[in-house]
């Protein structure tokens, strides 16, 4: 049987492997609590059914306008600020469209390591913004930071798409030369 030192290493350091990152657990908990997705008490079933009916109607109404609710959990904050709503919606749509393009083109992370590292860094910053929203609410300054985040993400995704085009073109040329 093959000697598996990697497995041994993981087993003996398992606790460290399970604690190495510091996610925004409080933020996630607040999302879970405010989600109202958790199981209600039995006495509230009727209310839940009514609420669900309303939710279905609401989903049908907004589904055309909704691009990617999952993309940004800060949506609720922004909806409380009508002056930012349109801009926010536009930026999310731009980012979401580009991400869709990237997915359909089957771009591999290992081919564009630097760009993906930058995107990861951006995601880390996004988590900090989320934490700040939690602490300070939807201040103008945080809104602008959030918008800058989306603008930057959009630019990086654009670069990724262009680089991929370039790569495909070069592969095509090389193939022809061969």
């Amino acid at each position: 049987m093959k000697n598996n030192r990697l497995k041994e290493f993981i087993d003996s350091n398992r606790k460290d492997f399970d604690e190495i990152e510091s996610p925004a657990l409080n933020f996630v908990w607040n999302e879970i609590s405010s989600d109202k997705k958790t199981k209600p008490s039995k006495s509230n079933y009727l209310l839940v059914i009514v609420a669900l009916l309303f939710a279905v109607v609401a989903v049908l109404i907004v589904s055309n306008r909704q691009t990617s609710q999952k993309l940004d959990r800060l949506e609720n904050y922004v909806l409380n600020s009508p002056q930012y709503k349109n801009e926010h919606h536009k930026l999310i749509k731009t980012v979401s469209d580009k991400e869709d393009q990237i997915q359909t083109q089957n771009i591999k992370e290992e081919d564009f390591k630097e760009i993906f590292e930058e995107l990861n860094e951006l995601e880390r910053n996004h988590s900090f913004i989320q934490e700040d929203f939690q602490k300070y609410g939807n201040t103008d300054e945080l809104m602008r930071t959030l918008f800058k985040h989306y603008e930057r993400k959009s630019k990086i995704l654009e670069i990724l798409l262009l680089e991929n085009e370039k790569r495909k073109y070069n592969e095509h040329i090389n193939h022809r030369e061969i």
């Binding site: 030192r5 993981i10 989600d35 199981k39 209600p40």
Partner: protein, 183 residues
Amino acid sequence: MLKTELKDENQKMIQQCIKGNSLAQKKLYDKYSLAMYHTIIRMLPYRAEAEDILQDSFVKVFRKIESFRGDSTLGAWIKTICINTTLKHLRKQSPIQYSTQEDIPDFEESPSSELKYSVKTIHEEMKKLPKGSRVILNLYLFEGYTHKEIANSLNISESTSKSQYQRGRTLLQNQLKSLRNEE
């Protein structure tokens, strides 16, 4: 604390969660969320996405907790939900690609070789593996799945699971080797 006491404490917590007691739900979340987050992030290497899946998983945990029968430990039951939610998310993103192994030379560990890398290095390098190998490597090495169980979970053959595991290990070892060469 004795095992029976722990079991009783868990039972009380579960009963309270079933009743929708948010303090008990928070207690359960505090107890398991960090480890569950790491289970997810090892398969889905982007933090914001992993946090989303953690959120979805715990929402499912609280919804389904009534169905927990105690056949496994509570932690193992929660972990299964987290893993299944992650796999479902990965499948939705794009089909998991299982590439062929031919292009990668096999890397054998010598019996005397030692792992001279930190937990952080291995954690980060594993996150860089291609999706297919990364998921299989994690399920096998961290979650103790057998290749048969992996094959069932991912709807692939057992031999694909084995070859992807080997491929992932080789890629990881090559990545670690090149890191060492850079030093």
